[in-house]
């Protein structure tokens, strides 16, 4: 019963928290450049509007195009159940980071196929770039996780949170911080944030993610956007709870869950402020500079693993 309750609760937190997070980011960015900006709950209104509209589907497309939004949301919901969000024992307690990353890749796989399905050059361009970035980010993720797993001697996400919690001087451990930096850069690439991709523009040619989903409209677009927001939410939650596991309870009681929710909200707010400030301060990189950025994050991950070996 507990497991079912926690599953529903965690899915709700992510499904409802994700649009709010995206809205907060937009508001923060608007304030930072001196605009008033929309309210943080604007994404909910956008989603409601999109769900009410009739989708337009290209005649060229196949069932892949229509199925992809559902596969995407499905993959993100499973990811939501696998991540340690409110407690260190997520509903899919066996899940490790490999499963989580593969679920994200499953989403990318289908979205890239949907981008090709309409037969327009924009979609193909977006797909090709998206899989390039996703493929190059993969080694960094693995090595950063390796560094964490080495210290916790488990690849189980909940296990990592529990083992790292009891470790003092976490924030001054070089291996830990290097892994955090590497993972942060990968997060920027995987969720399509600046400097890799600009989520705020709709110029098809400069885009990665937006070019790929150009053909989507109506409820299909709503699902795709919602899934993208959930991916960002899960990634930021991982950054918050894996690297700074303070205030993540291990038991499933209402007060503990409330504490977990508050701690998570606080950490996510800090990360959102960092992200908004970063996105305001830097410009988008040229596409063929992105691999250099990812190579840099890979180097950080390698250093992090070496540091674990040297300090053992």
């Amino acid at each position: 019963m507990d497991a079912l309750f926690l599953s529903v609760l965690q899915a709700l937190v992510i499904a409802l928290g994700a649009p709010l997070l995206v809205g907060t980011l937009r508001t923060l960015k608007a304030r930072l450049v001196g605009r008033r900006g929309p309210a943080p709950w604007q994404p909910f209104l956008d989603l409601r509007k999109l769900f009410g509209k009739t989708p337009v589907v290209s005649e060229t497309t196949s069932w892949i195009f229509r199925a992809t939004p559902y596969v995407l949301v499905g993959a993100m919901l499973v990811a939501a159940l696998a991540a340690p969000v409110l407690t260190s024992r997520p509903p899919l307690a066996f899940a490790g980071i490999l499963l989580l990353m593969s679920l994200f890749l499953l989403g990318t796989f289908f979205l890239a196929l949907a981008g090709l399905d309409a037969g327009s050059a924009f979609g193909g361009m977006g797909s090709s770039r998206e899989v390039t970035v996703a493929g190059l980010a993969e080694p960094t993720v693995m090595l950063a996780v390796f560094a964490l797993a080495l210290r916790a001697s488990t690849t189980n996400l909940g296990g990592i949170v529990e083992r790292v919690t009891i470790e003092p001087l976490l924030v001054v451990n070089p291996a830990h911080l290097l892994a955090f930096a590497a993972f942060f850069i990968v997060m920027l690439a995987e969720t399509g944030r600046l400097p890799v991709d600009n989520p705020a523009t709709h110029l098809e040619l400069t885009m990665i993610h937006e070019a790929m989903v150009l053909e989507y409209s109506g409820r299909h677009l709503a699902l795709v956007e919602w899934a993208a927001a959930m991916k960002l939410f899960v990634f930021l939650t991982l950054l918050a709870n894996l690297f700074f596991p303070w205030g993540v309870p291990a038991d499933v009681t209402p007060p503990a869950l409330l504490l977990g929710l508050l701690a998570l909200a606080g950490k996510l707010a800090l990360l959102a402020i960092t992200l908004a400030a970063l996105e305001t301060a830097i410009a988008k990189l040229r596409l063929f500079r992105v691999p250099e950025l990812l190579a840099g994050s890979f180097a950080l991950a390698v250093l992090s693993v070496s540091a674990v070996f040297l300090l053992r």
């Binding site: 769900f51 009739t54 989708p55 337009v56 589907v57 290209s58 005649e59 060229t60 196949s62 069932w63 892949i64 229509r66 939004p69 596969v71 949301v73 499905g74 993959a75 919901l77 499973v78 899919l92 066996f94 490999l98 499963l99 593969s102 679920l103 890749l105 990318t108 796989f109 196929l113 090709l116 399905d117 309409a118 037969g119 050059a121 979609g123 193909g124 361009m125 797909s127 899989v131 996703a134 493929g135 190059l136 980010a137 080694p139 993720v141 693995m142 390796f146 797993a149 080495l150 488990t154 189980n156 296990g159 053909e215 409820r219 063929f288 691999p291 390698v302 693993v305 070996f309 053992r312």
Partner: protein, 639 residues
């Protein structure tokens, strides 16, 4: 007639699969027929490892033979060679002495060589395919030469040609074992397709008929892995650390090289052949990790890595034969395997497309299919390398982990391209526009194999312990694998865990939930069909689509140090004005640095040496007789 041969081969496969499973579960038997073969007689021996590979060959041969009835049922050519090919592959793992092994191995190579040439004659580019056959013959025989050299050395040193005596003989010195291992590893890795001995694979596999390609990529190259396991863990035990490090690095390089070439290739079947190199790389990394752990006296971890490698062997056999069968369906329906001439096939070939999609998801290592589970297990074995004391070994492992992760990420790109360009959007040629769906036997075989891919993933909690039991016959240790609630696989205590049924169930629920919610909310199911957005252009044609080459372009730029692209652009303008272009010709051939840096110089050296050596070939019989006399005298003197 040929349909009958294929049907009989399917029955043979089914029987072999049953016998193999029985052998795996522990009913060993020995069969000796001394008069059949000279030099030791024919000897077959069943043990769990041989049983696994016999079961694998047999189980793969069943759907592939059914497929062949639809694919080549009216063609008489090649059916006999196919039956011989399957039979020889069944004998290789059972062989118990040098002579039996060498004969079965050579029969397997020759039968597949005949089949490659056969595909070549039927193909569109006979010259290129004849070249494929030639390279295949050279590489496979160079490999055989290495194998025989290694085996004969071992025979001389232990005084027996029976494999069982090698394992029982007193341990040789480390140098002797290393020499033999190097020779055997060269021969077996050449068959498995490890870089840099892979050059025959992307030539021969696409040239063969598709059902043969399915078996060559699915199971034949695995027999190289079988030989490596036998040599490293049985014949030459105890293993040395440098064997493990070598296999780890060769595996990581193969994985990355294979997938990088797969991304840029525009021939559908060659793309799959390169992907086989990638997957063999993953298997070799698992094997190398097992050898390294075994050499460092960590048998439990060696067992885990070995189980992971064997699991990937089985999984790759399933999804790669599925993919080759589906690619054969495309070839059958359109007559081409050039992806730039395909497109839109999902509407004309819905079954083939769905089966290819299943294979692509499995091959890209994505949940919930089988490729994901064995890659996951391989990573879990690799990640535990912290228990090895030597930092240099840790470094080799870290490189292998990064290489496998890069390969896994890039495999997604390669299969998005393979499926997306071939099956989605508008057809790029008349052949693709007029494609027809595969006939019933082909569809049955493909659907059954796709179901096997799902079954191999969902049944992980039963399959992995069974494979660990096979691995335990090579490295005796208690398996660090337990099965918990919800069929959860627990690895090394609480190091890692995974429950595929739960993942599949959650995924199904997660996909159905939004559908249900939309139904409950009575969202209008109506969808408006309209043309693709094109910035106001009048009509959409296939020329506006992204091509396979364009899709791979970011990779050719990012990895230009690897591809060394040599694009050529010829613009033929009108003599009056350069603004009136009559013809544009653009070429960007893929270059293979291994060929250019290793095999071409090697070929030149060999040719020069052969020309020097030709001096002794005067053509005069008298001189040749004199050579025989001198050789005889020398031998008598030495003896």
């Amino acid at each position: 007639m040929s349909a009958l041969v294929y049907a009989l081969t399917a029955l043979l496969g089914a029987a072999a699969a049953a016998a193999g499973v029985a052998g795996m579960l522990g009913t060993p038997w020995v069969l000796r027929i001394d008069w059949l073969v000279p030099l030791g007689g024919m000897a077959l021996e069943m043990d769990p490892l041989a049983g696994l590979f016999v079961a694998l060959v047999g189980a793969a041969a069943v759907p592939v033979s059914v497929y062949a009835i639809g694919y080549a049922g009216r063609e008489r050519r090649g059916c006999l060679a196919y039956a011989v090919f399957v039979a020889a592959m069944l004998v290789v793992p059972l062989a118990a002495n040098v002579m039996t092994f060498a004969l079965a191995w050579e029969l397997m190579s020759l039968a597949s060589y005949v089949l490659v040439l056969d595909g070549a004659r039927a193909g569109r580019e006979p010259a290129a395919s004849a070249h494929a056959g030639w390279v295949y013959a050279v590489m496979t025989h160079a490999g055989l030469a290495c194998l025989l050299a290694g085996m004969l050395l071992l025979t001389a040193w232990t005084g027996s040609a029976r494999f069982a005596d090698w394992a029982a003989a007193p341990t040789l010195s480390a140098g002797a074992r290393s020499l033999v291992w190097a020779l055997l590893a060269l021969g077996f890795a050449a068959k498995a397709g490890g870089v840099p001995l892979h050059v025959w694979l992307p030539l021969a596999h696409p040239a063969a008929p598709s059902h043969v390609s399915a078996l060559m990529s699915g199971v034949m190259i695995k027999l190289g892995v079988y030989g490596l396991l036998r040599a490293s863990f049985v014949w030459l035990a105890p293993a040395l650390p440098w064997w493990g490090a070598t296999l780890l690095l060769v595996g990581a390089v193969s994985a990355v090289t294979g997938v990088l070439y797969a991304i840029v290739d525009r021939d559908l079947k060659r793309l799959l052949a390169f992907s086989s190199i990638e997957n063999v790389g993953i298997v070799l990394v698992g094997t190398g990790a097992a050898v390294a752990f075994a050499a460092a006296a960590l048998p439990a971890l060696a067992l885990l890595a070995l189980a992971a490698a064997l699991y990937h062997v089985v999984n790759h056999a399933a999804f790669k034969s599925l993919l080759f069968m589906a690619a054969g369906g495309v070839l059958h329906g359109t007559g081409t395997r050039d992806m730039e001439a395909l497109g839109g096939l999902i509407k004309r070939q819905p079954w083939t497309a769905a089966c290819f999609l299943a294979g692509a998801v499995a091959s890209a290592g994505l949940p919930p299919l089988n490729g994901f589970v064995s890659e996951w297990l391989t990573f879990q074995a690799l990640l535990q390398n912290i228990r090895l004391p030597q930092p240099s070994m840790n470094l080799a492992f870290a490189l292998a982990i990064a290489g496998l992760a890069l390969a896994a990420g890039l495999a997604v790109a390669a299969f998005v391209k393979a499926f997306g360009i071939t099956f989605l959007a508008l057809p790029r040629s008349d052949a693709a526009a007029g494609a027809h769906e595969a006939p019933v036997p082909m569809r049955v075989a493909m659907v059954a194999t796709a179901a096997a891919c799902a079954g191999l993933a969902l049944g992980a909690s039963a399959i992995v312990p069974a494979l660990a039991a096979v691995a335990a016959t090579l490295v005796p240790a208690p398996a660090p694998i337990t099965v918990g609630a919800w069929l959860t696989l627990n690895i090394s205590g609480d190091f890692a865990s995974l429950s595929m049924p739960a993942v599949a169930l959650a995924l199904a629920g997660g996909i159905l939930l939004p559908v249900l919610l939309l139904v409950v909310a009575r969202a209008r199911p109506r969808v408006r069909r309209y043309e693709t957005w094109g910035c106001g252009r009048l009509l959409q044609t296939a020329r506006m689509e992204y091509t396979a080459t364009a899709f791979a372009d970011p990779f050719t730029r990012v990895f230009d140090f690897f591809y060394r692209p040599a694009a050529r652009l010829d613009v033929d303008a009108h003599p009056e004005s350069r603004f009136f272009v009559r013809r544009i010709r653009y070429e960007n051939p893929t270059r293979f640095i291994v060929d250019e840096w290793l095999y071409r110089p090697l070929g030149r050296v060999l040719r020069a040496a052969a020309q020097r050596a030709a001096v002794v070939q005067s053509g005069s019989p008298n001189l040749y007789l004199a050579y025989v006399l001198v050789a005889l005298l020398l031998l008598l003197l030495v003896a």
